[in-house]
Structures are given as C-alpha cells and as structure tokens.
Subunit: 545 residues, 2 copies
Amino acid sequence: MKIALAQINYHIGNFTSNRDKIISHIEKAKKANVDLVVFSELAISGYPPRDFLEFNDFVKQCNKSAEEIANNCNGIAAIVGLPTFNPNEKGKPLYNSAAFLKDGKIESLTHKTLLPNYDIFDEYRYFEPNNTFEVIAFNGKKIALTICEDLWNVQDNPLYTINPMDELVEQKPDLIINIAASPYNYHQTKIRKEVLKRNAEKYRLPLFYVNHIGAQTELLFDGGSLVMNPKGEIVEELKYFEEDFQIFDLEEIENTTDKTLTEDLSETASIYKALVMGVRNYFEKLGFKKAILGLSGGIDSAVTAAIAAEALGSENVYNVLLPSRFSSGHSVDDSLELVKNYGMPHDIIEIEDAFNTFENTLKPYFKDLPFNVAEENLQARTRGVILMALSNKFGYILLNTSNKSEAAVGYGTLYGDMNGGLSVIGDAYKTQVFELARYINRNGEMIPENIITKPPSAELRPDQKDSDSLPDYDILDVILFQYIEERKGPKEIIAMGYNEKLVNRILKLVNTNEYKRYQTPPILRISTKAFGMGRRMPIVAKYLS
Amino acid sequence: MKIALAQINYHIGNFTSNRDKIISHIEKAKKANVDLVVFSELAISGYPPRDFLEFNDFVKQCNKSAEEIANNCNGIAAIVGLPTFNPNEKGKPLYNSAAFLKDGKIESLTHKTLLPNYDIFDEYRYFEPNNTFEVIAFNGKKIALTICEDLWNVQDNPLYTINPMDELVEQKPDLIINIAASPYNYHQTKIRKEVLKRNAEKYRLPLFYVNHIGAQTELLFDGGSLVMNPKGEIVEELKYFEEDFQIFDLEEIENTTDKTLTEDLSETASIYKALVMGVRNYFEKLGFKKAILGLSGGIDSAVTAAIAAEALGSENVYNVLLPSRFSSGHSVDDSLELVKNYGMPHDIIEIEDAFNTFENTLKPYFKDLPFNVAEENLQARTRGVILMALSNKFGYILLNTSNKSEAAVGYGTLYGDMNGGLSVIGDAYKTQVFELARYINRNGEMIPENIITKPPSAELRPDQKDSDSLPDYDILDVILFQYIEERKGPKEIIAMGYNEKLVNRILKLVNTNEYKRYQTPPILRISTKAFGMGRRMPIVAKYLS
C-alpha cells in the first residue's frame, strides 16, 4: 500500500484555498498511484480556527469543503481533518474529526479523544472528547487513526486518564496514522520525535505522522512530518519550515533502518527559520508586502530588520531612524551601516521638533516637576506616532522590535516602542537575540559588530544604560526563564543560588507589568511559554507584586 | 441549623487580605451562633486566578491559608473554595475544591465535576473533573455540596454528559449548597435564578447559593447570593454589587414563601452599577486613586466621565479637553458644562501645535499625498500622547472611552483614542451608551442634553459624521449583536431582513479589525460576549473578510 503525506501551509477560514490545495495534492497522489493520502488535523479550516468554531456557518462550510474534496477521491482514499457537528443530544456541540474519504464520499469519521487545553490550546472549549474506538479497514490493512494529542499521553504523570491507542490496539491494527497540528518551539522537534518513538515502540507498529507547516499569526508550525518503523526509528522526515509531499510504501517501512537526518538545525538556526517564516506568512496571508520599523542603533531593531529582510526581501523593509538629543552618534552610523549591508530603504527623521512641541504644550501642566519617565515615554511615543503615520500613509505594517526580557520586566513604552502589528523577537530573551545576531553574521558581517558589542541602552536620558536598573542579561534571563517557562516560584529560584532581593524584584516587575503586555501585538512564539494567548494572567492581582 | 452566607469581594492572589476577610466573617458568624458559614468558589485565591494556578507556590499558599482559616473553625463549620493538588498519578494536576472546615481542621474536600471552558472560562485548563460523589454529614443533616457549574447542566442540549446532583441525590441529601463564581452580564441574574430554581424544584431541596461580588479586572461579579425553598421560590436574596452577610435557619426555609424582591434593577441600571463597581475596584485593587480621560464633547467620553465620577469621586477624575482645528465650538462648551455639573477638574490643551509639528516633520516623506486616515489618526495619537504624558507624570490611570460598536467595526485609532488602562464602556453598544446617558440624567441633567442629541462625530476632518460611513446605530448595533453575541452567520442575519451588502460589509469590518482589538485595554464585561478574554479570534484569517 502506497501512502502519501501532504504537509501543507493552510490559511484559517480560507475554504477555497485550503480545499484547492488539498485537491491538487490528491490529484498529484493519484498520478503516482498512491492508495491513501494523508492531510493534517483541521486541514480544511486551518488551525487554530479558535472561536470561528462557534459559528455554525463556519462549521457547515468546513463540511461542504469535505464533500467537495471527497468528490475527488475516486480510485484513491484520503484522510483529512475538519470540525464536525456532534449529533448527540448531550456534550459539546462539535468534534475534532478526521474524515476518511473514499469512493467519492465521506466514508467514516474518527474523532479526537484527548483534547489539549493548556498553553496555547483551547480544544475543550469547542470539542466533545471521543469515547468509542474503531480501526479503519482499508486495502486489507487496519489503520489506527489518531489525532495529534491522542498519541501524547505517554509521559510520566499522564495528563489524561485514558490512552486511545491502548483501546485501538485491541483491534490489532497494522499501522498508526496521526494527523497533527503541533506548533513549533525550540524544544518541540525533539520532544515530538520522542513521543512518536514511544508510540511506535510500545505498539510495535509503523507510524505515519502529518503535521502543519506555516504561521498562523503567532503560532509557527514547523512541519517535520515523518514515518517511523515499528522499532521507533525514523524512516523519513519531511521538510522543516517548508511545504512537502512524500510517498511511502507501507510494506517497505518495516525493513527500512534508521535514517541519518540530512539537516539537524541548531536551536538558534531553527529559531531564525521559524521567525522568518512567521513574518513572511503574516504578510502573505494578510495581503501585505511591505514592513516599516524604527531602527534605534540597538541589537533588537537590527535583528528584527535582518529577519524582515530575509522574509520579505530587503527592498520591502523600510527602516526609519528617529534620533533624539539623547541618541549617541554611533546609533545613527551603526544603523546606516546595517541598511547599507542589506540594501534596505531608509529615512532619518529627527524627533526633536515634535518632542519640543510636546514639552512646550505640556509645560503649563507639568509645572516644574523634574524630568522623569513621562518625558522618557514621550520620546518613545513621538517615535511611535511618526512610524504609525508612515505606516498608515503607505499601507506598510509596523514591526515591533521588543525582546522578551524587556517585555517581561516592563521596560518598554506602551503606545511607543511597544507598537506594531506583529512582534518578531518578542519571545526571544535578550541573550537569545545576541545569539540570533551572531547567527545572522555566520557568513560575514551583516549586522555591524558595534551593534552587537556595545552596552544596551534605551537612550531616553543622558548616558542611560540598561545595566543602570537591571542585572546583566545573563542573570536576568535565567531568572525570567525559571519563572516564565518553568513556573518556578520565588523560593525555588532563590534556592538555585540567586540573590533574594533581586529575584523578588524581578518577579514583581513581571507581575506588575501584566497590564502592558495585555496591549502588545501578537508575538511570534518560539518558546514553551510565550507572552500572549498561551500565558493568561490576571492584571488586577496581588501575587508576588 | 443556622447557615450563614458570606458574599465577599476578594482580591486575586492577596492571600492575607482574603484570609483575614474570611476569618473575620467566621468570627462574626460564631457570635451569632451560626453552625455553618459558606464562602464562595475559589474564595481563598480569588477568582479567576488564571495561570497563577500553574505555579505550585501559588497553590501551596492557598492550602496554607485554608489551614489557617480552619484553625478558626472551632464550634463552627465553614465551607470555602480553593484549588487543591490532585493526588492521583493520572489527570490534570489540580482540583477546583470546596473545603469543609470543622474542629480546627480541613475535614474533607469536595471537588468540582463540571468545569466551564467557554467564553471567559478556562477551568479545564487547570482542573481534573471530579468523578466520585459523597454528601457531607453535619449536625444530623446531609449536605449536597456542589460548585457553581455543577448545577448548570439542566438546560436543553446539556453541555456535559453527567449531572452531579443526579449522583448525590441517591444519598438522600437534606439540602443543596452551591458555592459559585458567576460573573455578571445583563442577562445573567435572570438565567442564574432560573437555573437554581430548576435544581431546587427537580430535587425538592432547599438551596443555599453563594456568589462572588466585586470586579476582577474585566470580570464583574454582582453577588446576588440567595436561598431557595424546595419549591424553587426565593426565600432571600443577598445584595447586588455589594458585600453582604446573612444568616438563615434551615428549618424555617421550607415554610417561607416567595419573597417580593425589594429591588428589581432595570437592565440599564444594573449595567450602570456594574460599570461603577468595575471602575472602583480596578483602582482600589491596584492602589490608584485618580483617573484621567480625554473629553471630546461626544457621548462616549461624557458617559465614561460620569461613571468614573460616581466610582472614584468627582474630584478624582481629571478631564482633559483636546480640541483641534476640526472640533466644533459646541464640543468644548458641552464638555465644560459636563465638568461643571460634576465639579470635576479639567484642562483645555490645544493639539494644534503638536499636530502641525508632526505634519511639518512628515511633509518631506508624505510628499503631496492627499489628507487621509494617516492625518486623522495623527490627531487621535497626538491626543493619546498628551493624555499618557499627564498620566505618567501624575500617576493617574487613563480611562479608555471607546464603545462596543466602534470597537467592533474598527472605528478607532490604535495608540490614539484606543489607549487606556481600562475600557469602561467598551462592552456597551452605542445605543446602550445613549441609554446609560438617559439613566445618568434620570434625576436631572448631569450630561448636557446637547451631548446626547447631536449627531455622533469623530471630528477628525471637516464636517465629519459617523453616519457618513456607517448605518444608523439602531441598525448597526442589531447586526453586530446578531454576529457577536448570537454568533449568527451572514445568511442568517440577511434572512432577518437586513441588506445583504450592508451585512457583508459590517461582518468584514468586524473580522478585519481583529488586529486592533487584540491591543485594546481590558473591557469591563457586561454582555454575554465581550471583546477580550471571552472572545478568541484568529487575526490572520480569511473568514467573512
């Protein structure tokens, strides 16, 4: 039996485009005499459709698409994910389903049992869990068809009390197929392979796994669909961060040994690829071509510009330098070198006039109160206004250049440098931003060395340095990681050897700045715990604050 | 048996304050010879604690508080809600529990079975559902103890496949106690009473219900704890929008007949009270006293100012008038009349200089492109910068003045009039804002009549009116309500008799402006579907857009 895996970049709610992509891959599979072609979880709607699922109209359109796709399944079978209505009187209104298409119709539906409802996942918001189990008989073989999380309950302290494969294995299946929507983070590829390996080994079955590829706003799907033999060895991996389509012969799987993977990306390389895809897909799927961003002379905006140039083409990244009386000379020079290295368009717009006018306008009300955060923010907001004016005038999307460290402790100005349609590096700690810069320069200096080596500064008052008020990023980032990604409390972090006062101060900064992060743009997610939809914190609260 | 209901305003994560409030009510109950005092769901942590629940440190502190509270339970019993660790190897790590405190210790734990996971609820994100059922024997009576949603599966097409009371009733309980965290919306009071009535009637048992009161950022808890007799008649209601504590004699409940409620608030009156509480608690719990807002001369900022004055005291609401070349004369006059009526502080700050400076700064880059949305937004953002500068300088919280109609269709400027720490009327459609204004003027003109009767305008270009580009709000708001609250698709709305082109245009505006709403402040929730945590939409998507 010939099985094809189709790893496709879907567009949420774009029924026409998703359907056409699926049908064109079915046609391609037919030409290669494939028996069964497999698409990913909720392929027809795109993943995650979120609250569109609460619209009956949306779900009906998904089902209509499935029928149109089924019309093309003659002489071939296909598995494709979509939401379906729960026909029972009791329970949630929908199932997360895999349709088995054959002979021009929807032959059967298999529903998802384990519904992830943590971090960025909200599946129990919409779906009733499945509780009946049946393999699919096809061409003399029995397929154990599962959907993503259904294979993930193999950890210690399992999150769910049942295990769908334990039920299905009673019916003596010949292979496992898993259709997935497993988003990228820089640990996920390894974990995902380990989980799949445990399943193949435990049930001694070949395993066919199809994931999404492409960005859906903040969620980045890296692909990496694969086939494993019953020993849990990888027979073949599909591409990462690209669409792919490959055909396998079931009978040959058992005799194929462990494949030496051609490309094993470093963590930083994979983050870079993920972010480039994230920017590119955000613009493509929204129908925009050009980005604008403010180039400060610091490393954050430099790395953001570099990623945008790779994603959109240098000519489509408009860099605006917005120096003030507090900007150091090298800030402009370094930025000019960067835009020259990439050949990106740029302008230099002094903010002095606008800043002065605001100071004069506000003088009668500020009275003689000393220069403080109000004036610092005023500079950042003046820049924000200019960038947004250009963005509005020319139809460019403003890219946000904040990093995760500063977003965590609230070192950013709401409606100023926190502006943007999309945050590119907002899930990368400052130390990771440095690693990205080094990676970008791996074949030669694209980001000027001085941008990487000079001490970080917001340049909002004379001789300001980040280190005036924050510990070294090496220390700050570890504390933040323990708190944010690892959900360690203050006692646990202090027990790791960090200064008690410092830890308490940092955690308090994180929690009291929740109100700022509530209003930030979507952040491309590369970690196990990004700010945004996967981290839901009260604003008015008193914990550690 | 004497049972007391304690309806308290908790503060999320403020373990000391929550614990002390609970203990002081236990002491009060002791003095009145109460046998059992009942507190609400997750009282110890405050509701909703959201992802604080992922911190073991947080859950441990809750359990420590429970033990401290139990120490005070001698000669009295108490029921109090908190998260507890799931001791089983499998399943989610926590339970949503009700602790039964007696004889100085935690006598038993009852766990929640039905975990709401829709709209603003995320309980399956954290909690394992309970699946064992046991009544609590106390003073010769058997208590069926349930937690909020546990009583809610009595609708047609029930959301859950089991019903905890159907299990508990087998053990012949004498009364039902339900501890809840049921947030306000302007339909909720009626629905809540109906649901409780169905339970009392179905199981022929007296019912004691304790809800939260107070605002937790956007979520508004209205209280309305109550006691029902076995006929489903209300014996007593606790106060709405206020803390309350009342004592009942179980033996008398059966013979008490339906109470004539002293206060039956109109929909608009309840919305007004809810919003006032929302503003007041937001400031109190964050430790702020003073608000700032921009007064445009329009109805939205006028109603926002009126609500803030009621919540914080007139002297704590600083109104800034920010006229431009496009502002009509009456805008300033009407605003001045409003601040005079309330005795609120105000300033008039012309934005002309700052706007001109921005225009001059941008002229070389805008070239000769015509005046468009860029210049309109520039005015709104100039105002935003001035308001935020004053907010930063004086430590006032900026109140956002947007309404739900404009937030829905994207008629607002990001980083301009969409700024603020809290959106006061962002869940009220424009037609509801008019009703609020009429309500505020019920005893005399506080909001100048001209503000209510003049045609709405953003005044960002000459002679602009909302009606230039939008249908009448009477029509717009109905279409929006059908789409947002009722989740009707375009075909269904058109079938109600609305113009096809108009409906499609409005729904497209709603969906393509999702990116703006992603960055708005938290919005006090008064409807069944508010923008914010309860409505989760993809940004990059193609449905109806």
